[in-house]
Structures are given as C-alpha cells and as structure tokens.
C-alpha cells in the first residue's frame, strides 16, 4: 500500500518535472534565434488583437466595478476614523500594488489563456502543427512565438488600463456619490503613491504574471493529449494552474517588493 503510494508520488513528481522540462524546451525553441520582422510583425499584430483587444472589455468592466466596490467598502471603514480623506490612497494603492496585476492576470488566464490552450490543442489534434512542420515552417516560431510576445505585451497594458479605470471608478463612488472632497481624493493619493515604489513595481508584477500565464497556456495547449477530452482537460488545467501560480508568485513578489 505505502510503497504503491510512494511509487505514485515519485511518478507524478517525475512527470511534472518532465512537463516542466518540455515547456522550457518549447519556450526556448520559440524565442531563441533571430526574429524575422517582415513575417513576424503582422502575426504579432493579429495576436495583439486576439489576446489584448478582445480582453479589453472584460478588463474595463471589472476594473470599474472593483474600483467602485473598493471605494464603497473603504469609505465605510475610513469614515469611522474621520479619515475619509485617505480614500484616494486606499483605492490607488490596493489597485496599483495588488488588484491591478493580480485580477488582470486571473481574468486574463480565464479569457485569453484558456482560449489559447484550446486553440493550440485543437491545432495539434487536427494535425495542423504537424502539417506546418512538414511544410518546413517551424510551428514554435510561427504559432507559439507571436502568441507569447502578444501576451507578454498585452497583459501589463491591460493591468494599467484596469488600474486607471479602477481609480476612476473609485472617484465616481467616493467623490460623486459619497461626497469625499475631490481635491483631497487626488492630493492625498499623490502624496502617498510613489512612481517607482508603487506604479513601476505593479508593472513588474504584471510582466511576471504575463509570462507565467501565457507560458502555462501555450505549454498546456502544445502538450495536450490530442483528443476532445484531452483538450478540455488541458483548458481547465491552464486556468487552475495559471491562477494558482500567479497567486503564489504574487506572495513572493509582494514580500520582496513591499515586505522588507
């Protein structure tokens, strides 16, 4: 019994390690080598559209609502201490440091990550990747690389849009509805938010999350068992693994950036 359990544990560890290795090889194959801008540029633009522009709506709406909720919740607490003037920094700092990068990454994993996994898994199942390889076109360079870069470029941009919209949403609720002074909303924010400490660190976070989410999504698709069941499992795994990894890395990055 116990030896069997141990065997299973060992096997799954080795399997995971091998999967990790394959994903590394995949990314290496996709990114190393001299890029071809004449062919690569239109592909990148297309993927920026699919991955970035099409995710914009969900980002805008969620950003607005999260900003509004933050203002509403923050106000009810702050007003007890007569500190509702600090609503601006509360909203801005939570969005810049945490919610912007993290929620964008989670939404991105659900919206774009799962779609990528399914698309690539399906291309594999219908032998499109194999066919491309036989036409002497490297699918890693043609399919994986533009999607990777598009994701890494899109997500920090989306996170900034999310944060900006969230702060505006906070303004909408805090100033226009709850009656916090508009001037103090912005001025206390300006006094407490630092460009490098908060804005740039938030951006760094979201770049790291972008690499994580997009790498997992592409690898799960590329490594999917080419059956309908395999693809559906890979899609689920993308969302679950990417979300958990993002949260784990968020803790590490937060500890490194703001903990010390």
């Amino acid at each position: 019994m116990i030896t069997e359990k141990l065997q299973n544990l060992g096997r799954s560890t080795i399997d995971n390690l091998a999967g990790f290795g394959r994903s590394g090889v995949m990314l290496f194959g996709a990114l190393v080598g001299k890029p071809n801008f004449r062919k690569g540029w239109p592909l990148l633009v297309k993927q920026l559209y699919v991955i970035g522009v099409l995710s914009l709506l969900i980002i805008l709406v969620s950003g607005l609502f999260i900003g509004m909720v933050l203002a509403l919740q923050g106000y009810t607490v702050l007003v007890k201490f007569g500190a509702e003037g600090m609503l601006g920094p509360l909203v801005a700092l939570s969005l810049l440091r945490e919610l912007g990068p993290v929620v964008t990454a989670l939404l991105f994993a659900g919206r774009a990550g799962s779609a990528l996994t399914a698309e690539i898994g399906l291309m594999k199942a219908t032998e499109q990747l194999s066919g491309m390889e036989m036409m002497a076109v490297d699918p890693l360079r043609r399919i994986i690389a533009p999607r990777f870069w598009a994701g890494v470029i899109s997500m920090p941009l989306l996170a900034m849009v999310f944060t900006a919209v969230g702060i505006l949403g906070g303004h909408l609720i805090g100033v226009n509805w709850l009656g916090v002074d508009g001037g103090s909303y912005w001025s206390t924010m300006q006094a407490n938010v630092d460009l490098y400490q908060d804005v740039v660190n938030g951006l760094i976070k979201s770049v790291v999350f972008a690499v994580i989410v997009i790498w997992i999504a592409l690898h799960k698709g590329f490594d999917a068992v080419p059956t309908s069941e395999g693809i559906s499992r890979a899609t689920t795994q993308t969302v679950v693994t990417a979300s958990l990894t993002v949260l784990g890395f968020d803790f590490i990055l937060t500890a490194l950036m703001f903990g010390g």
Partner: protein, 154 residues
C-alpha cells in the same frame, strides 16, 4: 475582419494603455517632483528623527520643495543624518535656515519643515552638499509627557 481594421484597433488599444500609464504616473503618483528635474543635496543632523521616512516631503510654508533621499546614522556620534534632495528651483536658502521634523495633523505622517533664515553680508547661501546646522528633532510623545509630569512635580 480586415488586417487594416485589426491594426487600427491594436493601435487604439496601445494608445489607451499609454494614456492609462500617463494618468497613473502624473495624476496618481505625481511624478513631477521626484526623480525628474534637477535637484541638489543638503544634509541635516538630528537628535531623533521620530517617524521620518525616506521620501517624506520637505516643505517650506506648506509647499513641497523636495524629499528625503536617505537616512543614515553618523558612525562617530551615532546621531541620525538626513540627506535631503531639494528642487534646483529653490536654491537660495541661507546657512541660517533651520529645519524641523513636524507632524501633519495629530496622527498624520511626519515631514521636514524648512524655515529660511535671515540674510546679510556674512551669511552664505547653502550649496550642494552643505549641512544645515540649526535643527529641531521630532517630538516624541513619551518624552513630552514625561517633561510635563516632571514640570508639574516642581
């Protein structure tokens, strides 16, 4: 969907994101006074800095003129030395100026209040790297209460 239309939408997306970044940098973080723009450095020694932090503002009559760049301990006398970065625009403080650690409001954050001194022929203007001699330390609440009780006892 034509390629042209996709290009336009992607372009709009990037413009929107850049606008968001500019808003975050300028309107939210107010990057005007930090990093960017020329500044010069002054030093001040204090007995006690209380809750002063790196990047705390330096104000003259309530106007922010610079920020605290670093806080170190003098290894000879073991007193805190505060390095201040002051905007180049305000470069005419005489050496008779004084600096105090003040608190904004009852529970607010601490900041450096710079008080310009008098000027006559013998007084020099503070230059990059000079120190301000006349400093007043932070008020520590426990000390204040202790003093008050001590005085009452008399």
């Amino acid at each position: 969907m034509t390629t042209r239309k996709i290009e336009i939408l992607v372009g709009a997306f990037i413009v929107l994101a850049v606008a968001a970044f500019l808003m975050l940098a300028l309107k939210v973080a107010n990057a005007g006074i930090s990093g960017s723009g020329q500044s010069y450095v002054l030093y001040a020694k204090f007995e006690n800095i209380g809750g002063l932090k790196v990047r705390s503002p330096i104000k003259v009559g309530g106007v922010v003129v610079g920020r605290v760049a670093s806080i170190d301990l003098d290894t000879v006398y073991y007193t805190p030395v505060v390095k201040m970065e002051i905007n180049e625009q305000y470069s005419n403080f005489p050496e008779t100026s004084s600096v105090a650690i003040l608190t904004s409001g009852l529970l607010g954050e601490q900041y450096l209040g710079l008080q310009p001194g008098f000027i006559d022929e013998t007084v020099q203007i503070l230059a990059d790297g000079d120190s301000i001699q006349d400093t007043r330390s932070a008020i520590v609440l426990e000390e204040l209460i202790g003093q008050f009780l001590f005085n009452r006892g008399n």
